[in-house]
């Protein structure tokens, strides 16, 4: 009857593996580390707030700046794709984060498309460089 035990043991292990139901992929930070094109920093200010840190000393401006950098770093390839066509959900979210006025948004989108090669100088342009380039181009375009 050894085989019966073996059957049960194997079946239990397989069953256990399947029962992970909603959990095996519940750690997006796990899956998104070093992904499409750009390595991401998963610890955003929201995650860190779960540790109940006191970070109210940061000025609002600094927090906003960090939010932009986090967003660009995490969604670099999506933003690049959106900018190449001058529209998209990620680009729209970035415009909100950068506090672009509603009436200037279209101009902002078009600017990213038209100045794509200035924003992404090469394939190794980093998220930080992109934010800098973006701010510069926004100044020039008066957005």
């Amino acid at each position: 009857m050894l085989y019966r035990k073996l059957v049960l043991a194997i079946a239990t292990v397989i069953g256990a593996f399947l029962l992970v139901a909603c959990s095996v992929t519940t750690a997006p930070t796990d899956a998104s580390s070093g992904t499409t094109g750009q390595t991401t920093d998963a610890t955003s200010d929201l995650t860190s707030s779960t540790t109940l840190d006191d970070d109210e000393d940061d000025s609002e401006e600094k927090q906003q700046e960090e939010a932009v950098e986090d967003f660009v770093a995490a969604n670099f390839s999506q933003l690049r794709a959106d900018m190449s066509v001058g529209r998209g959900e990620y680009l729209g979210s970035l415009a909100t984060l950068l506090a672009v006025d509603d009436i200037r948004k279209e101009a902002f989108y078009t600017m990213t498309k038209n100045n794509f090669s200035q924003l992404f100088v090469s394939s190794s342009t980093s998220a930080k460089e992109l934010v800098l380039n973006l701010k510069q181009e926004m100044m020039v375009a008066k957005i």
Binding site: V7, A16, A21, F71, N114
Partner: protein
């Protein structure tokens, strides 16, 4: 008299005041304590009179589950700090009185005060016991208020990423909450999400599953921006997502967040079956609106599909459902809109088989050039993500320098594609993905009962089947992923009326088929795996119960919208005392064609050939046809005819089954 009393009053008051203020500090706090004790006694008595700890609101705040046998009195929270009374985990009353006691005794007024650690309890007690701000002043919980302001939420959505093709571990899907900011019209991607997950260092493999089942890892609520989750589920794992917008008012959302604040430092022993992501999300939704009592009815297993079904069935809870297609769906939609030469061009550009040169595609119209470049870039992103994922799963670690060089090549190619696209002065409409006709909450239920009448080698029988979960290829596809099957714990019992004899027919522990159709761009492999105890006709007399393990790999194609076909190479391990060394190993092949005739009719043809090479030297085959007709939402009739040869002479089998989902 009048004058006297008129003069007397201010004197008395001022003298009283002076006495009061001149009291030493200790005496003052003593007086305050006496006063507070009095208040406390009043409120405790009031709470006892109303037995308010029995109210669903308080039970929800303490996470006391309801169970099949009435209400359980043990909280699901396993963090000792969550309870103010030593008996708090087991006694809702003790915890309520301890909370009141601490609210009225602790004088510190800062972030660590009980009122700041348990703001939802305070808010609820204030309301139920009429504790107004003069008896218990508001606390200055700076940290809590900052946190609430940062979240700035006034709405709630439940997000359901469907299962991953080719990864049955996730076939049940997942659920988490999104905190919406409707008043500000903030973009969804920036919204914070609340997720309940096992908190483990290593998130994969068998050890993880075993530990998970027995509560080896603590479960916690965590927050992350929605864009991180979209990235993980939609862009990397290619899971479509469904967003269920709920009708919670800003006040309800705020109360739920107050309670979440209480929960963030707490942990739950994480049991995959009964205390999973879905159960705890429902519990959180119950806190915000206890009248819903969504957790009721989930006694020991909740799948994410059950969660969204509970939400959809709760009257007035659902306001809107949005479908967010994965990158894979977007690519398929883009490809479908293009003629073949354009598709070929896009694929070659993405794979680097063709260098991007302007004259090459310049003979196309501007919009067609743009379409080619956009598809090529999406496809390249898909390849990058799936390659990364493959490395994750199999833990392949080729030399770092090789990976780095490869990544650089792809990044360069992507950069050139997008730069070229940005120079085209043309605006294309967003790709038109088609939303599935059924939402996940509209699919059939996972559990199934079946009663069949069969005839095997001219011997009639009745068979009773049960299936705990979840979906097979012949079940209605609506709300499920096409070409995916996950059956789990399915025992069968047979009755032979001629001999008046009952027999255990077998049990399917698990039976998985992952057969996603391949197209020009997306080319996944198909596979099958199963573990069962089942009977095979060993000789003309005996049907022997055997351990049965199968694995198969193959390819599947969606031939037309209605016809899908798969071919596999199969292996099988049979365990029974009848074989040499109690085991038989077989190699073979199988094919299956599935025809969805209409919403109600499905037909299929299956052929399987297996040659045993170890343990026994036999050839086994089975050819069968199946026809399924949906009767109502939750029942169906299935007719199956097959020609079988197992380990003895061949026989004919016919079965008519009635299936019921519940």
């Amino acid at each position: 008299m009048f004058l006297n009393s008129g003069l007397f009053k201010p004197v008395v008051i001022s003298s009283l005041l002076s006495v009061f203020f001149s009291l030493p500090a200790a005496a003052e706090s003593l007086a305050e304590n006496v006063n507070k004790n009095k208040l406390l006694t009043t409120f405790v008595l009031k709470a006892r009179a109303g037995e308010i700890w029995r109210r669903p609101e308080w039970r929800a705040l303490l996470h006391l589950p309801s169970s099949l046998w009435g209400e359980r009195e043990t909280s699901l929270v396993d963090e000792p700090q969550f309870f103010l009374s030593p008996e708090g985990k087991k006694s809702a009353q003790a915890e309520l009185e301890a909370t009141l006691a601490q609210l009225f005794s602790v004088t510190e007024n800062n972030n660590t005060a009980v009122a700041c650690r348990f703001p939802a309890r305070l808010a609820w007690l204030r309301k139920v016991l009429d504790i107004d701000k003069s008896t218990l002043p508001d606390y200055q919980c700076r940290r809590l208020n900052n946190w609430l302001a940062k979240l700035g939420a006034d709405g709630l959505s439940v997000i359901f990423p469907v299962s991953v093709l080719n990864s049955p571990a996730s076939m049940f899907g997942h659920t988490f909450l999104r905190l919406d900011r409707r008043a500000d019209k903030k973009p969804d991607l920036l919204a914070p999400t609340i997720n309940f997950a096992a908190y483990a260092d290593q998130g994969r493999g068998f050890g993880f599953a075993i530990n998970g089942i027995f509560g080896g890892y603590p479960g916690r609520f965590t927050l992350a921006p929605y864009y991180q989750r979209v990235k993980a589920y939609s862009d990397i794992e290619n899971r479509d997502m469904w967003e269920y917008q709920l009708s919670y008012s800003p006040a309800e959302v705020n109360f739920m967040l107050l309670h979440l604040w209480e929960l963030l430092p707490a942990y739950f022993d994480y049991y995959f079956i009964d205390e999973n992501c879905s159960y705890h999300l429902l519990a959180l939704l119950d806190v915000a609106r206890p009248a819903l009592n969504l957790t009721e009815g989930f006694y020991w297993d909740a799948t994410p599909a059950d969660t969204v079904r509970a939400i959809a069935n709760a009257p007035g809870l659902l306001t809107k459902v949005t479908y967010r297609p994965s990158l894979r769906e977007t690519i398929t939609a883009r490809a479908e809109a293009l003629p073949l030469p354009e598709k070929k061009l896009a694929k070659a550009l993405a794979l680097g088989e063709l260098e991007l040169q302007v004259p090459l595609i310049a003979d196309k119209t501007l919009s067609s050039q743009a379409e080619i470049l956009e598809l090529a870039s999406d496809y390249l992103a898909y390849l990058q993500a799936s390659r990364h994922q493959a490395q994750d799963i199999f833990d392949l670690a080729p030399e770092a320098s090789i990976i780095e060089r490869r990544r650089e090549v792809l990044a360069n190619r992507q950069h050139r594609l997008l730069a070229a696209r940005s120079t085209l002065p043309v605006d294309l409409p967003a790709p038109q993905t088609t939303e599935p006709a059924f939402r996940p909450d509209q699919g059939h239920r996972g559990r199934r009962l079946a009663l069949r009448y069969g005839n095997e080698a001219s011997e009639p029988y009745l068979q009773f089947d049960f299936r705990w979960a979840y979906h097979d290829l012949y079940d209605p596809d609506g709300g499920f992923i096409a070409g995916a099957q996950l059956e789990f714990l399915a025992p069968s019992l047979r009755f032979y009326p001629a001999e008046n004899h009952w027999q255990f027919e077998g049990i399917n522990f698990v039976d998985i088929i992952s057969a996603p159709g391949r197209n020009y761009f997306i080319r996944p492999f198909s596979w099958k795996a199963s573990a069962a105890l089942r009977r095979y006709q060993f000789d003309d007399e005996a049907r022997v119960l055997m351990g049965d393990f199968k694995m198969a790999a193959g390819l599947s194609y969606q031939l037309t919208k209605r016809v899908a076909a798969s071919v596999y190479v199969d292996t099988q391990l049979l365990l029974a005392d009848e074989f040499t060394d109690s085991a038989a190993l077989g190699l073979g092949t199988s094919t299956e064609i599935l025809y969805t005739l209409s919403d109600k009719w499905k037909a299929g043809f299956q052929a399987e050939l297996m040659q045993y090479v170890e343990g026994v030297s036999r050839t086994r085959y089975k050819a069968s046809g199946r026809l399924r007709r949906t009767l109502e939402q939750d029942s169906a009739l299935v007719l199956e005819l097959s020609e079988n040869k197992e380990f003895s002479s061949s026989f004919l089998q016919a079965e008519l089954a009635w299936q019921y989902y519940f």
